[in-house]
Protein backbone atom coordinates (compact mmCIF):
# COMPACT_ATOMS: atom_id res chain seq x y z
CA UNK A 1 0.00 0.00 0.00
CA UNK A 2 1.13 3.47 -0.81
CA UNK A 3 1.82 5.23 2.46
CA UNK A 4 1.87 8.71 1.00
CA UNK A 5 -1.64 8.43 -0.36
CA UNK A 6 -3.01 7.78 3.11
CA UNK A 7 -1.50 10.89 4.66
CA UNK A 8 -3.60 13.90 5.30
CA UNK A 9 -2.46 16.95 7.18
CA UNK A 10 -2.76 17.13 10.89
CA UNK A 11 -5.82 19.32 11.48
CA UNK A 12 -3.96 21.71 13.74
CA UNK A 13 -1.19 22.78 11.38
CA UNK A 14 0.89 22.04 8.34
CA UNK A 15 2.86 18.82 8.57
CA UNK A 16 5.92 18.91 10.68
CA UNK A 17 7.64 15.59 10.79
CA UNK A 18 7.97 14.92 14.47
CA UNK A 19 6.30 16.45 17.48
CA UNK A 20 8.03 15.82 20.72
CA UNK A 21 6.64 16.38 24.14
CA UNK A 22 8.26 15.63 27.42
CA UNK A 23 6.51 18.24 29.48
CA UNK A 24 3.70 16.06 30.64
CA UNK A 25 4.35 14.02 33.73
CA UNK A 26 4.26 10.31 33.21
CA UNK A 27 4.30 10.27 29.43
CA UNK A 28 7.15 11.02 27.12
CA UNK A 29 7.50 10.38 23.48
CA UNK A 30 7.17 11.46 19.93
CA UNK A 31 4.41 11.60 17.45
CA UNK A 32 5.28 11.12 13.83
CA UNK A 33 2.94 13.34 11.90
CA UNK A 34 4.28 12.01 8.63
CA UNK A 35 2.11 9.02 9.33
CA UNK A 36 -0.88 11.04 10.42
CA UNK A 37 -4.25 10.03 9.18
CA UNK A 38 -7.53 11.42 10.41
CA UNK A 39 -9.33 9.33 13.02
CA UNK A 40 -7.20 6.26 12.49
CA UNK A 41 -4.01 7.77 13.48
CA UNK A 42 -0.92 5.98 12.11
CA UNK A 43 0.89 2.73 12.40
CA UNK A 44 1.54 1.35 15.83
CA UNK A 45 5.05 0.46 14.74
CA UNK A 46 5.35 3.90 13.17
CA UNK A 47 6.69 4.93 16.51
CA UNK A 48 4.19 6.86 18.53
CA UNK A 49 5.73 7.34 21.95
CA UNK A 50 8.60 5.01 21.25
CA UNK A 51 10.26 5.36 24.57
CA UNK A 52 7.66 4.21 27.04
CA UNK A 53 6.14 1.23 25.32
CA UNK A 54 2.81 3.00 25.48
CA UNK A 55 2.58 3.63 21.79
CA UNK A 56 -0.82 2.10 21.45
CA UNK A 57 -2.19 4.33 24.17
CA UNK A 58 -0.93 7.46 22.50
CA UNK A 59 -2.47 6.42 19.20
CA UNK A 60 -5.82 6.19 20.91
CA UNK A 61 -5.58 9.42 22.85
CA UNK A 62 -4.31 11.23 19.78
CA UNK A 63 -7.56 10.29 18.10
CA UNK A 64 -9.55 11.59 21.02
CA UNK A 65 -7.45 14.78 21.09
CA UNK A 66 -8.23 15.30 17.41
CA UNK A 67 -11.96 14.96 18.00
CA UNK A 68 -11.69 17.52 20.81
CA UNK A 69 -9.66 19.89 18.68
CA UNK A 70 -12.03 19.67 15.75
CA UNK A 71 -15.16 20.30 17.79
CA UNK A 72 -13.57 23.27 19.57
CA UNK A 73 -12.26 24.70 16.33
CA UNK A 74 -15.71 24.35 14.77
CA UNK A 75 -17.44 25.97 17.76
CA UNK A 76 -15.01 28.90 17.79
CA UNK A 77 -15.14 29.40 14.02
CA UNK A 78 -18.93 29.60 14.27
CA UNK A 79 -18.55 32.38 16.84
CA UNK A 80 -16.33 34.59 14.72
CA UNK A 81 -13.07 32.65 15.09
CA UNK A 82 -9.86 33.40 16.97
CA UNK A 83 -7.04 31.67 18.77
CA UNK A 84 -7.87 28.86 21.21
CA UNK A 85 -6.62 29.57 24.72
CA UNK A 86 -7.96 26.74 26.80
CA UNK A 87 -10.30 23.81 26.52
CA UNK A 88 -12.08 22.15 29.37
CA UNK A 89 -13.18 18.54 29.10
CA UNK A 90 -14.62 15.88 31.39
CA UNK A 91 -13.06 12.40 31.41
CA UNK A 92 -14.74 9.57 33.27
CA UNK A 93 -12.91 6.80 35.04
CA UNK A 94 -14.61 4.21 32.78
CA UNK A 95 -14.16 6.10 29.53
CA UNK A 96 -11.04 4.15 28.58
CA UNK A 97 -9.09 7.39 28.20
CA UNK A 98 -5.92 8.08 30.14
CA UNK A 99 -5.69 11.78 31.08
CA UNK A 100 -1.87 11.87 31.03
CA UNK A 101 -1.72 10.29 27.60
CA UNK A 102 -4.41 12.65 26.43
CA UNK A 103 -2.55 15.73 27.69
CA UNK A 104 0.56 14.53 25.94
CA UNK A 105 -1.28 13.90 22.68
CA UNK A 106 -2.98 17.28 22.93
CA UNK A 107 0.25 19.14 23.44
CA UNK A 108 1.87 17.45 20.49
CA UNK A 109 -1.20 18.05 18.36
CA UNK A 110 -1.40 21.81 18.90
CA UNK A 111 2.36 22.47 19.13
CA UNK A 112 3.69 24.70 16.39
CA UNK A 113 0.25 25.51 14.99
CA UNK A 114 -2.02 28.54 15.30
CA UNK A 115 -3.34 27.29 18.63
CA UNK A 116 0.01 26.30 20.13
CA UNK A 117 0.00 26.47 23.88
CA UNK A 118 -3.73 26.02 24.20
CA UNK A 119 -4.22 24.36 27.56
CA UNK A 120 -6.27 21.22 28.03
CA UNK A 121 -8.00 21.18 31.37
CA UNK A 122 -9.23 17.74 32.37
CA UNK A 123 -11.99 17.30 34.94
CA UNK A 124 -11.69 13.75 36.23
CA UNK A 125 -15.01 12.05 36.93
CA UNK A 126 -14.75 8.96 39.09
CA UNK A 127 -17.41 6.28 38.81
CA UNK A 128 -19.76 6.10 41.79
CA UNK A 129 -20.88 2.97 43.58
CA UNK A 130 -24.57 3.19 44.39
CA UNK A 131 -26.45 0.88 46.73
CA UNK A 132 -30.00 0.35 45.43
CA UNK A 133 -30.96 -1.10 48.82
CA UNK A 134 -29.82 1.91 50.88
CA UNK A 135 -30.59 4.35 48.07
CA UNK A 136 -27.19 6.00 48.53
CA UNK A 137 -23.85 6.46 46.84
CA UNK A 138 -21.20 4.76 48.98
CA UNK A 139 -17.85 6.54 49.22
CA UNK A 140 -15.03 4.45 47.77
CA UNK A 141 -11.28 4.83 48.00
CA UNK A 142 -9.80 6.31 44.83
CA UNK A 143 -9.12 3.66 42.14
CA UNK A 144 -10.38 0.87 44.43
CA UNK A 145 -13.77 -0.79 44.38
CA UNK A 146 -16.10 -1.80 47.18
CA UNK A 147 -16.98 -5.46 46.87
CA UNK A 148 -20.40 -5.04 48.54
CA UNK A 149 -22.27 -2.28 50.33
CA UNK A 150 -20.47 -1.74 53.65
CA UNK A 151 -23.83 -1.11 55.35
CA UNK A 152 -26.18 -3.75 53.98
CA UNK A 153 -23.87 -6.17 52.12
CA UNK A 154 -25.81 -5.97 48.88
CA UNK A 155 -24.15 -5.65 45.46
CA UNK A 156 -23.46 -2.08 44.38
CA UNK A 157 -24.36 -0.60 41.03
CA UNK A 158 -21.72 1.43 39.22
CA UNK A 159 -23.03 4.80 38.06
CA UNK A 160 -21.29 7.36 35.89
CA UNK A 161 -17.64 7.37 34.97
CA UNK A 162 -18.51 7.13 31.26
CA UNK A 163 -18.11 10.86 30.68
CA UNK A 164 -16.10 11.96 27.68
CA UNK A 165 -17.31 15.48 26.98
CA UNK A 166 -16.03 18.82 25.79
CA UNK A 167 -17.35 21.27 28.37
CA UNK A 168 -16.13 24.69 27.24
CA UNK A 169 -13.56 26.46 25.15
CA UNK A 170 -11.97 29.87 25.76
CA UNK A 171 -10.55 31.81 22.87
CA UNK A 172 -9.15 35.18 21.93
CA UNK A 173 -11.53 36.66 19.35
CA UNK A 174 -9.99 37.70 16.08
CA UNK A 175 -11.40 41.30 16.07
CA UNK A 176 -8.45 42.53 18.12
CA UNK A 177 -6.21 43.72 15.34
CA UNK A 178 -4.90 42.60 11.97
CA UNK A 179 -1.29 42.13 13.17
CA UNK A 180 -2.11 38.98 15.07
CA UNK A 181 -2.51 37.03 11.85
CA UNK A 182 1.18 37.53 10.99
Amino acid sequence: MDEASKRTPCPSRALSPIARSEATAGVRGEIDFQLWRPKCYAHLDGGFARDDGGGERIVHELGIATEIYESCRTAVDRSGSGRLQSVKIAVGELSAVEPECLRFAWEALVAGGPDAGCALEVEWRPARQFCPQCGQVKPRPETRWLRLCPDCWQPLRIDGGDELDVLEVSFEPREHGPEETS
Binding site: V59, I68, W145, P155, E168, S170
Partner: protein, 223 residues
Protein backbone atom coordinates in the same frame (compact mmCIF):
# COMPACT_ATOMS: atom_id res chain seq x y z
CA UNK B 1 -10.31 39.89 26.08
CA UNK B 2 -11.03 36.24 25.92
CA UNK B 3 -14.41 34.66 25.38
CA UNK B 4 -15.68 31.36 26.67
CA UNK B 5 -18.14 29.16 24.83
CA UNK B 6 -20.27 26.54 26.47
CA UNK B 7 -19.74 23.58 24.16
CA UNK B 8 -21.14 20.60 26.09
CA UNK B 9 -20.72 17.97 23.46
CA UNK B 10 -19.85 14.31 23.66
CA UNK B 11 -16.33 14.01 22.31
CA UNK B 12 -17.40 11.00 20.27
CA UNK B 13 -20.71 12.51 19.19
CA UNK B 14 -20.11 11.82 15.49
CA UNK B 15 -19.43 8.19 16.27
CA UNK B 16 -22.46 7.97 18.54
CA UNK B 17 -24.69 9.37 15.81
CA UNK B 18 -23.39 6.89 13.25
CA UNK B 19 -23.82 4.07 15.80
CA UNK B 20 -27.42 5.08 16.46
CA UNK B 21 -28.14 4.82 12.74
CA UNK B 22 -26.59 1.35 12.65
CA UNK B 23 -28.59 0.30 15.72
CA UNK B 24 -31.82 1.42 14.06
CA UNK B 25 -31.06 -0.60 10.95
CA UNK B 26 -30.15 -3.70 12.99
CA UNK B 27 -33.44 -3.32 14.80
CA UNK B 28 -35.39 -3.17 11.59
CA UNK B 29 -33.54 -6.22 10.31
CA UNK B 30 -34.00 -8.11 13.58
CA UNK B 31 -30.28 -8.84 13.70
CA UNK B 32 -28.59 -9.45 17.04
CA UNK B 33 -25.20 -7.70 17.06
CA UNK B 34 -22.38 -8.72 19.38
CA UNK B 35 -19.25 -6.59 19.74
CA UNK B 36 -16.39 -8.85 20.91
CA UNK B 37 -13.58 -7.17 22.81
CA UNK B 38 -10.40 -8.69 24.25
CA UNK B 39 -6.63 -8.58 24.16
CA UNK B 40 -4.97 -10.02 21.07
CA UNK B 41 -4.90 -13.80 21.19
CA UNK B 42 -7.62 -14.28 23.80
CA UNK B 43 -9.52 -16.57 21.49
CA UNK B 44 -12.18 -14.40 19.83
CA UNK B 45 -11.71 -15.99 16.43
CA UNK B 46 -11.47 -19.48 17.95
CA UNK B 47 -14.81 -18.95 19.71
CA UNK B 48 -16.35 -17.82 16.43
CA UNK B 49 -14.91 -20.85 14.63
CA UNK B 50 -16.59 -23.13 17.15
CA UNK B 51 -19.81 -21.11 16.94
CA UNK B 52 -19.81 -21.34 13.15
CA UNK B 53 -19.34 -25.09 13.33
CA UNK B 54 -22.04 -25.69 15.95
CA UNK B 55 -24.75 -23.20 14.97
CA UNK B 56 -24.43 -23.31 11.19
CA UNK B 57 -27.83 -24.89 10.59
CA UNK B 58 -29.61 -22.87 13.22
CA UNK B 59 -28.97 -19.22 12.40
CA UNK B 60 -27.98 -17.01 9.51
CA UNK B 61 -24.72 -15.56 10.86
CA UNK B 62 -21.84 -13.42 9.70
CA UNK B 63 -18.77 -11.77 11.15
CA UNK B 64 -17.03 -8.46 10.65
CA UNK B 65 -13.38 -8.94 11.53
CA UNK B 66 -11.44 -5.93 12.72
CA UNK B 67 -7.68 -6.12 12.47
CA UNK B 68 -4.87 -3.70 11.92
CA UNK B 69 -3.41 -5.82 9.11
CA UNK B 70 -4.06 -9.13 7.29
CA UNK B 71 -7.13 -11.00 6.11
CA UNK B 72 -6.22 -14.02 8.18
CA UNK B 73 -9.13 -14.05 10.64
CA UNK B 74 -11.81 -13.65 7.97
CA UNK B 75 -10.18 -16.49 6.04
CA UNK B 76 -10.20 -18.71 9.13
CA UNK B 77 -13.93 -18.12 9.52
CA UNK B 78 -14.76 -18.59 5.85
CA UNK B 79 -12.96 -21.91 6.04
CA UNK B 80 -15.59 -22.83 8.65
CA UNK B 81 -18.40 -21.76 6.37
CA UNK B 82 -19.13 -18.45 8.09
CA UNK B 83 -19.67 -15.32 6.03
CA UNK B 84 -16.88 -13.02 7.07
CA UNK B 85 -15.65 -9.63 5.97
CA UNK B 86 -12.30 -8.24 7.03
CA UNK B 87 -12.07 -4.59 8.04
CA UNK B 88 -8.46 -3.44 8.00
CA UNK B 89 -8.08 -0.43 10.24
CA UNK B 90 -4.60 0.33 8.94
CA UNK B 91 -3.24 1.33 12.31
CA UNK B 92 -6.25 2.25 14.39
CA UNK B 93 -6.52 0.46 17.69
CA UNK B 94 -10.30 0.01 17.51
CA UNK B 95 -13.25 -0.18 15.16
CA UNK B 96 -15.53 2.82 14.96
CA UNK B 97 -19.09 3.06 13.71
CA UNK B 98 -18.03 4.55 10.41
CA UNK B 99 -15.71 1.62 9.65
CA UNK B 100 -18.51 -0.80 10.53
CA UNK B 101 -21.04 0.99 8.33
CA UNK B 102 -18.62 0.98 5.44
CA UNK B 103 -17.68 -2.67 6.04
CA UNK B 104 -21.33 -3.72 6.04
CA UNK B 105 -21.92 -1.90 2.81
CA UNK B 106 -18.99 -3.65 1.12
CA UNK B 107 -19.79 -7.03 2.64
CA UNK B 108 -23.43 -6.95 1.47
CA UNK B 109 -24.45 -9.76 3.81
CA UNK B 110 -27.90 -11.26 3.33
CA UNK B 111 -30.50 -10.93 6.12
CA UNK B 112 -28.88 -12.09 9.36
CA UNK B 113 -29.98 -13.44 12.70
CA UNK B 114 -26.64 -12.74 14.33
CA UNK B 115 -23.78 -10.44 13.36
CA UNK B 116 -20.54 -10.82 15.28
CA UNK B 117 -18.13 -7.92 15.26
CA UNK B 118 -14.65 -9.07 16.27
CA UNK B 119 -12.99 -5.87 17.39
CA UNK B 120 -9.28 -5.13 17.11
CA UNK B 121 -7.36 -7.00 19.81
CA UNK B 122 -7.16 -4.42 22.57
CA UNK B 123 -8.81 -4.36 25.97
CA UNK B 124 -9.00 -0.58 26.26
CA UNK B 125 -9.63 1.52 23.17
CA UNK B 126 -12.60 -0.34 21.63
CA UNK B 127 -14.55 0.25 24.83
CA UNK B 128 -15.24 3.92 24.03
CA UNK B 129 -16.70 3.32 20.59
CA UNK B 130 -20.34 2.36 20.22
CA UNK B 131 -20.80 0.26 17.09
CA UNK B 132 -24.58 0.01 17.30
CA UNK B 133 -24.29 -3.42 18.95
CA UNK B 134 -26.85 -4.98 21.28
CA UNK B 135 -24.12 -5.77 23.74
CA UNK B 136 -20.39 -5.99 24.13
CA UNK B 137 -18.74 -9.10 25.40
CA UNK B 138 -15.42 -8.94 27.15
CA UNK B 139 -13.31 -12.05 26.64
CA UNK B 140 -10.50 -12.94 29.00
CA UNK B 141 -8.31 -15.98 28.48
CA UNK B 142 -7.03 -17.83 31.50
CA UNK B 143 -3.45 -17.34 30.33
CA UNK B 144 -3.76 -13.55 30.70
CA UNK B 145 -4.12 -13.79 34.48
CA UNK B 146 -6.95 -13.48 36.95
CA UNK B 147 -6.20 -9.87 37.93
CA UNK B 148 -7.31 -8.28 34.65
CA UNK B 149 -10.89 -7.11 35.37
CA UNK B 150 -9.72 -4.62 38.01
CA UNK B 151 -6.83 -3.55 35.77
CA UNK B 152 -9.20 -2.82 32.87
CA UNK B 153 -12.41 -1.90 34.68
CA UNK B 154 -13.98 0.05 31.82
CA UNK B 155 -14.67 -2.91 29.56
CA UNK B 156 -15.52 -5.33 32.35
CA UNK B 157 -17.93 -2.84 33.95
CA UNK B 158 -19.77 -2.08 30.72
CA UNK B 159 -19.82 -5.46 28.97
CA UNK B 160 -23.18 -7.20 28.61
CA UNK B 161 -21.47 -10.51 29.36
CA UNK B 162 -17.99 -11.74 30.24
CA UNK B 163 -16.56 -14.84 28.59
CA UNK B 164 -13.57 -16.60 30.09
CA UNK B 165 -11.76 -18.48 27.33
CA UNK B 166 -9.16 -21.28 27.26
CA UNK B 167 -10.58 -22.82 30.41
CA UNK B 168 -8.56 -25.94 29.53
CA UNK B 169 -5.37 -23.96 30.26
CA UNK B 170 -6.60 -22.63 33.61
CA UNK B 171 -4.94 -25.28 35.80
CA UNK B 172 -1.59 -24.75 34.03
CA UNK B 173 -1.49 -21.02 34.63
CA UNK B 174 -2.90 -20.83 38.19
CA UNK B 175 -6.00 -19.02 37.06
CA UNK B 176 -8.30 -18.54 40.04
CA UNK B 177 -11.89 -18.40 38.84
CA UNK B 178 -13.19 -17.18 42.20
CA UNK B 179 -10.92 -14.16 42.07
CA UNK B 180 -12.28 -13.25 38.65
CA UNK B 181 -15.86 -13.90 39.68
CA UNK B 182 -15.45 -11.53 42.64
CA UNK B 183 -14.10 -8.79 40.38
CA UNK B 184 -16.89 -9.18 37.84
CA UNK B 185 -19.57 -9.22 40.53
CA UNK B 186 -18.06 -6.00 41.87
CA UNK B 187 -17.76 -4.18 38.57
CA UNK B 188 -20.81 -5.55 36.83
CA UNK B 189 -23.24 -7.24 39.21
CA UNK B 190 -25.59 -9.59 37.43
CA UNK B 191 -23.58 -9.78 34.21
CA UNK B 192 -23.47 -13.33 32.82
CA UNK B 193 -20.05 -14.89 33.33
CA UNK B 194 -19.34 -17.83 31.02
CA UNK B 195 -16.38 -20.15 31.32
CA UNK B 196 -15.51 -21.71 27.98
CA UNK B 197 -12.92 -23.62 26.06
CA UNK B 198 -13.04 -23.60 22.29
CA UNK B 199 -10.51 -26.45 22.44
CA UNK B 200 -12.55 -28.90 24.54
CA UNK B 201 -16.00 -27.47 23.90
CA UNK B 202 -16.63 -26.86 27.60
CA UNK B 203 -19.09 -24.08 28.30
CA UNK B 204 -20.01 -23.51 24.67
CA UNK B 205 -23.63 -24.54 25.23
CA UNK B 206 -24.00 -21.69 27.73
CA UNK B 207 -22.60 -19.28 25.13
CA UNK B 208 -25.06 -20.53 22.52
CA UNK B 209 -27.81 -20.28 25.11
CA UNK B 210 -26.93 -16.65 25.76
CA UNK B 211 -27.07 -15.86 22.05
CA UNK B 212 -30.43 -17.61 21.68
CA UNK B 213 -31.88 -15.79 24.67
CA UNK B 214 -30.70 -12.35 23.53
CA UNK B 215 -31.87 -12.92 19.98
CA UNK B 216 -35.28 -13.99 21.19
CA UNK B 217 -35.53 -10.97 23.50
CA UNK B 218 -34.63 -8.65 20.66
CA UNK B 219 -37.22 -10.16 18.34
CA UNK B 220 -39.84 -10.00 21.07
CA UNK B 221 -39.23 -6.30 21.59
CA UNK B 222 -39.50 -5.67 17.91
CA UNK B 223 -42.87 -7.37 17.60
Amino acid sequence: MSRTLDVRRRILEDNDRQAAALRASFKTGGTLVVNMISSPGSGKTALLEATARDLAGRYAMAALEGDIETERDAERLRARGLRAYQILTGGSCHLDARLVARGLEDAAFPALDILFIENVGNLICPTSYDLGEDFKIALLSTAEGDDKPFKYPAIFARAGAVVITKADLGPHVSFDMDVVRGQIETLNPGAPLLVTSARTGDGLEAWYGLLAERLEAKRRHRA
